[in-house]
C-alpha cells in the first residue's frame, strides 16, 4: 500500500530486459514506437508553423512513459482512455500515423472525430481507445466505468488511463480512484507529471512532491517511475497491468516526465520557463536516453537506428501527404449523430 520508487533500472538494458521477459525485438519495437511518436509530433509543429494546421498539442517528453506502460496492454482487447498528450500511447495501442495525421488535419475519415474535434482528442472504436474530450480528468471516471463493466461482464479486460499532474487535482480524480480502489477494478491510472500545468509549476499545484503518494488514500499501490527510463516504465506498467488482470485491483503510477515543448501551439513558454530549465530538461528526453541504453546494450546498432529513422521518415511523410489529400467533412454531415437516429 505504500508508495515505492523505482529508480534507475541499472545494469545494461539488454540483460535487465531479458530478466523481465522482454526480447530484443520487443525493445526495438518499443524504440520504434517512441521514435515514430516523436517524428509525428515534430511534424505537427512543422505543419503548424507553416500555417497548414491551426493547432498542435504535443506529447514530446512523455513518450517513454506511454510506450513503456501501454505496451503491456492487449491491443483490440483491453482499453486505453487517453488524454491530449497520448500521441505515443495511442500509437502503441494500434492507431496508425495516418490516423493521427487525419486528426491533425481534421479530415472526414479521421477515426477520432471525423474532424469535429481539435487535434489531440484521440479516439478509435476499432482499437478500444475511448474518445477524448477537453475538460481534464473527466476520463478517469470513464476508465473506472469501463473497468466496472469488465468486472461485471467478466471479460478480463484491463484499462489504462492517463492525465497530467495538474488534472489530478480535480475532484473527478478523487471520486474515480476511490471507487476503483473500493471495487478492486482493473484500472491503471497514470499521472504523467511534467511539472507544469500550462504556466503553473507543480509547487503551486499541490503541497506534495510525489502525486503517487495519494494512492494510499485510495487503498491501492502508488508507484513513482522515471519517465525517461522506458524499461522502468514497462516494468511498473507490467506489474500494474498483471495485478489488474489477476483481479487484485488498481494501481496509481506517477511517471516523472518532461514537457519538451510549449503547452500547445497557442502558448509562449519562455514567459514562465527559463532557458536554463529548458536546457536542463532536455537531459530527461526519453528518446536519446532509451537510444543510448539500447546502443550500449547492443540491442541496437547505429545502423539500425539510422534504418529506423529512414523508415519512420517515410511513414510520416506518407501519413502527412495522404491525410492532407483526404476530404473535409461535408456540411450535410454536420447534423449527423447528435443522436443515434441521426444517420445519413
Amino acid at each position: 500500500m505504500t508508495t515505492t520508487t523505482t529508480s534507475e533500472t541499472g545494469g545494461p538494458a539488454g540483460s535487465l530486459a531479458r530478466s523481465l521477459g522482454l526480447t530484443d525485438e520487443d525493445l526495438v519495437a518499443m524504440y520504434r514506437r517512441l521514435a515514430l511518436a516523436r517524428a509525428i509530433d515534430e511534424r505537427m509543429w512543422v505543419l503548424n508553423r507553416a500555417g497548414r494546421v491551426p493547432f498542435v498539442i504535443s506529447g514530446q517528453g512523455h513518450e517513454g512513459a506511454q510506450v513503456g506502460i501501454v505496451s503491456n496492454l492487449r491491443p483490440g482487447f483491453d482499453w486505453l482512455v487517453p488524454f491530449y498528450r497520448s500521441v505515443a500511447g495511442v500509437l502503441t495501442f494500434g492507431m496508425s500515423a495516418r490516423e493521427i495525421m487525419l486528426a491533425q488535419y481534421a479530415k472526414a475519415p479521421d477515426p477520432s472525430s471525423g474532424g469535429r474535434q481539435m487535434p489531440g482528442h484521440y479516439g478509435s472504436a476499432a482499437h478500444n481507445i475511448l474518445s477524448t474530450s477537453s475538460p481534464v480528468a473527466t476520463q478517469l471516471l470513464h476508465a473506472v466505468g469501463i473497468g466496472l463493466a469488465a468486472r461485471i461482464r467478466r471479460t478480463g479486460q484491463v484499462v489504462v488511463t492517463a492525465l497530467g499532474e495538474g488534472a489530478s487535482n480535480q475532484g473527478d480524480f478523487h471520486e474515480g480512484l476511490n471507487f476503483a480502489g473500493l471495487h478492486h477494478l482493473p484500472v491503471v491510472t497514470v499521472i504523467e507529471n511534467n511539472g507544469w500545468a500550462i504556466s503553473v509549476p507543480a509547487a503551486k499545484q499541490a503541497p506534495i512532491v510525489d502525486f503517487a503518494e495519494r494512492a494510499a488514500g485510495y487503498g491501492m499501490p502508488g508507484v513513482v517511475v522515471d519517465g525517461a527510463d522506458v524499461i522502468g516504465c514497462w516494468r511498473v506498467g507490467h506489474e500494474a497491468v498483471e495485478r489488474a488482470r489477476r483481479g487484485e485491483g488498481p494501481t496509481l503510477i506517477e511517471a516523472k516526465v518532461t514537457r519538451l515543448t510549449a503547452h500547445s501551439s497557442d502558448d509562449q513558454q519562455t514567459k514562465y520557463r527559463t532557458a536554463e530549465e529548458l536546457e536542463r530538461e532536455r537531459l530527461r528526453d526519453p528518446l536519446p536516453c532509451f537510444r543510448e541504453q539500447l546502443l550500449e546494450a547492443s540491442v541496437l546498432t547505429p545502423e539500425g537506428v539510422a534504418a529506423i529513422a529512414t523508415e519512420i521518415a517515410a511513414e510520416v511523410n506518407d501519413a502527412t501527404e495522404w491525410a492532407e489529400q483526404q476530404p473535409d467533412p461535408t456540411v450535410a454531415s454536420a447534423t449527423w449523430y447528435v443522436y443515434a437516429e441521426d444517420r445519413p
Binding site: 474518445s131 474530450s133 447528435v338 443522436y339 443515434a340
Partner: protein, 327 residues
Amino acid sequence: MATRTFIEAIREGLREEMRRDASTIVLGEDVGVKGGVFLATDGLFAEFGEERVIDTPLTESLIVGASIGAAVNGLRPIAEIQFADFILPAFNQIVSEAARMRYRSNNAFGCPITIRAPFGGGVHGALYHSQSMEAFFTHVPGLKVVVPSTPYDAKGLLRSAIRDEDPVLFFEHKKMYRSVRGDVPDGEYTVPLGQAAVTRAGSQVTVIAYGLMAHYALAAADRVDEDGISVEVIDIRTLRPLDRRTILDSVRKTGKCLVVYEDNKFGGYGAEIAAIVAEEAFDYLDGPVMRAAGPDVPGVPYNHVLEDWFMLDPERIAEAIRTLAAY
C-alpha cells in the same frame, strides 16, 4: 390491467427491464439494501444482487462518469441521483461528456445511459429538495429529457429510456410518487420517446404542461369548464426531443396558448415552448402566448407559508386560463 402508484410503476419498469436485459445495472446512493430513499429500487438488490444493484459512494460525478464508461464497455446503466437537486456535481459529466460522446466521436461511441432523478416541490423539501432541473438539460443537444406524469407513461417511457441508444434524463416528480395512481397493463408495452399526449380535448385555449403541472392543468381545465371555457391540455411527456406537431396543431386550432411549469419562470423550459409557438403559430394566435410558472426566487422556501406562495396550483392556473380566454 392493474392499478399502480406512480412509484410502483417505476419500480416495476426497472425490475422488468433488469429481468429482460442482463446488461442493465442500477447504481446510485442507497439504491441497494435500503431500496432508495423513496423506495423506487426496493427489492432489486434482493433479486439481482450487489453486482447489478450498486450502492455507490456519495459521489454524483462518479455515478454518471462511471455509467458513461460502463455503457461504452457493454452495459446499460440506470443511474439514480437521490434528488434532482444533487445532479449538479455531475453536471460536467452529463453535459460535457454523456451528451457529446456520440457527436464528438462521429458515432464511434454512444452513451446509452438513463439517469433517474426525483424532482419538484410541494413536499416541504425547501431550497435543495424541491428543484426543477429540466431547463438545464433540455437546452443540451445530445440529451433526451423525459418527465412522465402518469404511472402508465412512467413505466412505458422508462422502458423506452433504458432501451434508447443515447443518454436520457428521467425526472420523476416526487410529490406524485404515492399520490398519483393509474392503470398499468400487465404485459410489456412501451411509450415511445418524443411524443406529447393530448390529455383533454378542447377548443378555446391550449394548456401545455408536464409533470405535476400536467395534473394541475387538467384540474384547472375542469374548474374553468364551469365558466364555459373549453380547454385542450397537452402533456409534453418528452421535453427533448419535443413533439412540436402536437403542440402547434393544437394552438393553431384554439388560437390561445398557456404554458405551465413549476420551475422559475425566467429562462425556464416553458420559455422555449412559448418561443416556438410565438414563432410558428403566429398567424393563428388570438392572444399572447402566456406563461404560468414559478416565481423567480432561488428555490422553494421551507416554511409552509412561503412554500404555498411559491407553488402553482390548479386555481392559479385556472386564473391564468380565464385571463387568456377573456383576451
